[in-house]
């Protein structure tokens, strides 16, 4: 295993490293909002739904470019969100079943298209299956540049619209009351999730990219009750996991980036669960002990008093 510094001296690696770190930041930031809006699994659904879009984009153009894939995946992600909404509104099926149907249906279609591409006479198709688990090392400079621009854009939009997103995350009714275009903002947030997922696919893979949205946000929630701080922490957690994932998977052969990134994020999550200042397991245990001791201290004179009374009787 190389040291991190020797790896960072390779200019190609620097780009990939930067891309994955930025990706971690932006999906961590957006994940916070989708966590608070109770839509964590939407990212998972959108990621799976992106697969047919990517395949169709490749079949139509025959080029493996991340920009085209972004468009294809974005479109099929939008169709998927629309489908989920339509099924939930127009039948007795609940959202979880609708998500399950759309997720597996689209993914099944994606697998069919993927095998059609592999069996058909499309040149240059090698590496398309890397999209399932991600291979950061296979990215070329132009991919990384696209990804960097996209992530920068996501972070900028989130910063500019922070107040609006905050209100629709906590109290959409109030947001509507003071005249915000709530439906538009919700759609915009969904679009940002789609973009974050699609940008992450090449690095982390279709199957696990949702974890980048969910896990850092949940971990950050353990440390704070303030949205601003939570967003920053979640971004940091995401960045750390993205960086660790790229580094480890690039130095061990045959290891896809996605799972390693997810495991790094999960490690941070585990630490948060244990050591979070008020919600963590350790803090809770300490708190319980303190309360118990105080109770014993305070009830001691009462017990003594009652013993004395009994003795007097």
């Amino acid at each position: 295993m190389d040291t991190i510094w020797s790896m960072l001296s390779d200019p190609n690696m620097q780009w990939i490293f930067l891309g994955c770190t930025l990706l971690g930041i932006s999906s961590g930031v957006i994940g916070c909002f989708s966590y608070l809006r109770k839509q964590s699994l939407m990212g998972d659904t959108l990621a799976h739904a992106a697969l047919p879009g990517i395949c169709i984009a490749f079949m139509l153009t025959g080029v493996k470019s991340i920009g085209l894939f972004l468009i294809g995946a974005g479109l099929s992600g939008l169709i998927a969100t629309f489908g989920i909404g339509y099924i939930t509104r127009n039948s007795k099926l609940k959202q979880d079943a609708a998500m399950g149907i759309v997720l597996s249906g689209f993914f099944g279609l994606g697998i069919v298209l993927l095998t059609l591409i592999q069996h058909g006479d499309y040149g240059n198709q090698a590496g398309l299956d890397k999209f399932l688990f991600g291979q950061a090392a296979s990215m070329i400079a132009s991919d990384v540049i696209t990804m960097t621009i996209v992530c920068g854009l996501l972070i900028t939009v989130c910063t500019l619209l922070f107040k609006q997103f905050k209100i629709i995350s906590f109290d959409p009714g109030f947001a509507r009351g003071i005249g915000y275009p709530v439906a538009f903002l919700e759609q915009l947030l969904m679009l940002l999730i789609v973009v974050a997922v699609v940008a992450g696919i090449q690095a982390v893979g279709v199957v696990l990219v949702a974890a980048l949205l969910i896990t850092p946000a949940v971990s950050a929630r353990y440390w704070t009750d303030r949205l601003g701080l939570m967003v920053v922490l979640s971004g940091l957690f995401g960045a750390a996991s993205g960086a660790a994932g790229t580094w480890i998977s690039a130095s061990v052969s045959n290891l896809p980036t996605g799972p390693v990134t997810v495991l790094a994020a999960t490690l941070l999550f585990g630490l948060s669960v244990l050591f979070g200042p008020t919600r963590g397991l350790l803090a809770k245990r300490l708190m319980r002990q303190r309360v118990k001791q105080r109770f014993i201290r305070e009830s001691e004179p009462l017990v003594k008093g009652s013993v004395k009374k009994e003795a007097a009787l």
Partner: protein
């Protein structure tokens, strides 16, 4: 002959998943089914690394263990204040990631590649035969799935009333003394079993399609639980046949085509169901107007 075995395997998968899927959809736990189908992966890989064979009972047992572990972890995080869907997301991505890392680290030593786990190899089912005392007993996968189906039908048949009550009114079930938590874990154990015995034929990810889509199709067609289970199994088997036909014509992934066929049936039910269908509802509105 290979066609027969593939269709039989697919139908058994559809039957196992169809029965359990009904309860998942009714209890609004479709995504937990998704989570379990991903998170039994490390169990499968570890059992495979330990035993070196692909069809041991050990594999079943390990997957069961990981399925229950998933259920337990999701429950635990939920009780400690994380939202339900977020705790599902955290748990299954972590376990699935462990599974994929194990596969990629040991991929050279063992004959277990990511593709097989992801989309299954139903086309090769009839090559993996079970030979007992020199007599060819047919494909191993069929026996494994048959055993799973037997366990599922026995358990559901014995505790049908309890499962029914838990599916529709958990509070009432708890109030009259049914051990709701036990039945929750029992159901999740069965889902893990179904997943691991199907993973070889349809793959870990598409199992969820066979769990949820036929059950949802059935849910749109009826209001009775018994009928719904029957319809769900029927929809699953129909999609196996349709899917296999399509896969032969298109020369594409069989498992993928099966899930696409299931989605196609779902869309048909969504549009034309006699009580729920969009088009039927529209026509009725027009008649009233």
């Amino acid at each position: 002959m290979s066609d027969f075995w593939i269709l039989l395997t697919g139908s058994l998968v559809a039957a196992c998943c169809g029965i359990l899927g009904v309860f998942l959809v009714l209890r609004k736990m479709a995504m937990i089914g998704d989570a379990i189908s991903h998170s039994v992966m490390p169990g499968i890989v570890i059992a495979f690394l330990l035993s070196g064979s692909r069809d041991s009972l050990l594999m079943m047992f390990a997957a069961l263990l990981f399925g229950l572990l998933t259920t337990f972890l999701i429950q635990m995080f939920q009780q400690s204040g994380i939202q339900a869907d977020a705790s599902i997301g955290v748990v299954f991505t972590a376990l699935f990631a462990i599974g994929v890392v194990l596969v990629s680290l040991y991929a050279r030593q063992v004959h277990l590649d990511q593709d097989a786990i992801l989309y299954g190899e139903i086309a090769y089912v009839h090559w993996n035969l079970w030979v007992l005392g020199g007599i060819n007993m047919g494909p191993k996968a069929v026996w494994l799935l048959g055993f799973t189906l037997l366990v599922i039908t026995t358990v559901i048949g014995l505790f049908y009333k309890q499962f029914k009550l838990c599916a529709f009114d958990t509070a009432l079930a708890a109030a009259i003394g049914i051990p709701v938590a036990f039945f929750h874990y029992l159901l999740m154990g069965l889902v893990s079993m179904a997943t691991v015995s199907s993973f070889e034929s349809v793959g870990a990810i598409l199992v969820v399609g066979m769990l949820i889509i036929p059950a949802s199709t059935a849910y749109l067609l009826t209001d009775r639980l018994g009928v719904m289970i029957g319809l769900s199994v029927a929809a699953g088997i129909a999609s196996t046949f349709l899917g296999y036909g399509a896969a032969v014509v298109l020369d594409a992934s069989i498992a993928g085509c099966m899930v696409c066929a299931a989605s196609f049936l779902f869309v048909a039910a969504f549009l034309f169901s006699p009580s729920q269908g969009i088009i039927v509802k529209k026509l009725r509105l027009r008649q009233l107007a």
